[in-house]
Amino acid sequence: MFYRTAGQFKTSYQADHALFPVRQDAFLLGVILIFAFVIFPLTASEFTFRALLIPVLIYSLAALGLNILTGYAGQLSLGTGAFMGVGAYACYKLITIFPEMNIVVAIAMSGFFSAAIGVLFGLPSLRIKGFYLAIATLAAQFFLVWLFQKWAWLYNYNASGAIQVPNIEMFGITVAGPRATAITQYYFVLCVVCVITFFAINITRGRIGRMWKAVRDMDIAAELVGINLMRSKLMAFFVSSYVVGIAGALFVFLWRGAAEANLFDIPLSFRVLFIAIIGGLGSILGNFLGAILIVALPVIIGSVPQAFGIPLDSAMVEHLNIMIIGALIIAFLIIEPHGLARFWAMIREKFILWPFPH
């Protein structure tokens, strides 16, 4: 139908490996980008930016980071929340120590701090595998959150124990802090997410990505064909924690505005893990689909009873919310364990072959 591939001939090996093997994919991406860059900003309200668009982008980025580690390199991590915290606290310290530093530089540098911590806690992965490795990342999770609470230097000794984002200007426009408008923050996050996604797609498609996939599928076999396990696993931890750290910095600076240590506790890690798994492990697109689902679901569930005029108190909605998300996770896992990305892949396949059934 829309995905007619007839007449698109590949005449070279390069063309076969192009980013968009089918022309319609590029077209579709263009449409999505037009929506993201032009149509949403023109139509969205302040609430939509703060409750839907910005969180979807930030959670997608965090899930992308986790997916590089878990989906591509096969190392299970339950400590994403803490690594986001490292990014956020590093960015906060950089901004307060060097107030004149450009926020883009600060965010880009804060990623290196979380990457370093990630590599440190990734070291056990050379000896420990599977669920046993989850312990190493959980150790990071609990230890780092404890550190965020106890190490007063991290939050500049303020009495509340929370980090507060100051007003930060870039080229005369306030991009972060209480005075920033939602639309500038949205554009800022969108640009960062686009750039990182572009790099992530190309890393995972290339030599490094194939190395990771080999390690994921069977690490001993990968070692036998000459892949340096230590390098590839630690590189996965480095890249993944870098992206997660940046997501953490955006999380606090461009969305929440303030953060306490327990914001980065285990529920955040699990939420990111849900997004990565429901979206589809080992897929870039999946992170975005999963984030849309997980972020939009509570908003939708919250608004449905009002739409039908059923009065529900907020505690009840909250409980129903948790219950429905739990049930949906199970349902999604049963229907399609490979996630929403696989759904899309099947639909796309159908479109290409349409009207023929096979």
């Binding site: 056990p124 669920f131 404890w146 948790i322 896992l333």
Partner: protein, 319 residues
């Protein structure tokens, strides 16, 4: 130099100076360790028989305890509420097997793990919807659990042991002994271990996978109820109890995922060591609350030297 003194000398000097306090700390740690061991036991049973890393064990503890207290508050006599709660756990086990596990047979480990997180979320929402989110008091007296305390005076000091903690320790020992006998001597116990050894071989000699799964999840539910009563008597029953699931994970890793003995020894070791560390090193030197991560760091250290845990089966990899 002073730092070394604080870390290496001072804590032991404190211990020697107040042996009665040390005994008290050890006892507290032991009781905590028994609870960790119980939760870890629930994990191990399910992992052994189905290779499912059951994250929902922690919430099953809360759910069982809440059902018991909730039924009692609805006017059911305590001694009737107990078997009724067991019935609820059986229904829960059957539902989980039918709805969640059966469609997910043969999926990768991480998918099953995520499914148990899904179960956890569902049970949190469901439990709060029915029983409310506030803290409830465990019905200790109605279940004939003594609540007094026994005071010893060793070394001219003072050690107080609460009778409910003592009951908990003895009860847990009985439960574990019964479980070991059941696993090793009964036909069903042998079937459970057979499934743990080799799924396909067990199936081919006529062991029913789904029946055994229901039984195993039910046993895990019974253990959860016992844990819930004991822990609830100490700290009240609420969803805050859920965090103890995270305490059981390092226990599991320390002991080895497949080992019942490992769960017990690991639980006791972590309970005692984390208490000692918190009192003698954590509070004076690190600002306290080190219990949040100590068990994990300990497990991590042990795993670096023994990747399968202290008592786990040796991991043999083939290409």
């Amino acid at each position: 130099m002073e730092f070394l003194n604080d870390v290496l000398v001072q804590p032991f000097a404190d211990m020697a100076a107040a042996p009665d306090f040390l005994l008290q700390v050890l006892w507290e740690g032991l009781v905590g360790g028994v609870l960790y061991a119980l939760i870890a036991l629930g994990f191990v049973l399910i992992y052994k028989s189905s290779r499912i890393f059951n994250f929902a064990q922690g919430i099953m503890v809360v759910f069982a305890a809440l059902t018991l207290v909730g039924l009692y508050e609805k006017g059911v006599p305590a001694l009737l509420a107990l078997p009724l709660t067991l019935a609820v756990m059986l229904v829960l086990a059957m539902t989980i097997e039918r709805v969640v596990l059966r469609p997910l047979v043969n999926q990768p480990d991480i998918i099953l793990f995520m499914a148990t997180i899904g179960i956890t979320l569902f049970l949190i929402g469901f439990g709060e919807l029915i029983f409310g989110g506030e803290n409830k008091v465990m019905i200790t007296e109605q279940l004939f659990i003594p609540t007094g305390s026994i005071v010893f005076e060793p070394f001219g000091g003072f050690v107080s042991i609460e009778e409910k903690d003592l009951t908990a320790v003895i009860g847990a020992m009985v439960l574990v002994a019964a479980l070991l006998v059941f696993l090793n001597k009964s036909k069903i116990g042998r079937a459970i271990r057979a499934l743990g050894d080799d799924h396909q071989a067990a199936l081919s000699v006529g062991i029913s996978l789904s029946t055994i799964w229901v039984i195993v999840w039910f046993i895990a539910g019974v253990i959860a109820l016992a844990t819930g009563i004991v822990w609830g008597a100490r700290a009240g029953v609420s969803f805050a109890l859920e965090v103890i699931a995270f305490k059981a994970l390092p226990v599991l890793m320390l002991g080895g995922l497949e080992s019942v003995m490992g769960a017990i020894i690991g639980g006791l070791a972590i309970g005692i060591l984390e208490k000692l560390f918190e009192i003698y090193w954590g509070q004076p030197l690190l600002g306290g609350n080190t219990e949040a991560w100590f068990a994990y760091m300990l497990a991590l250290l042990v795993l670096l030297f023994r990747p399968q845990g202290l008592f786990g089966e040796k991991i043999i990899e083939r290409v």
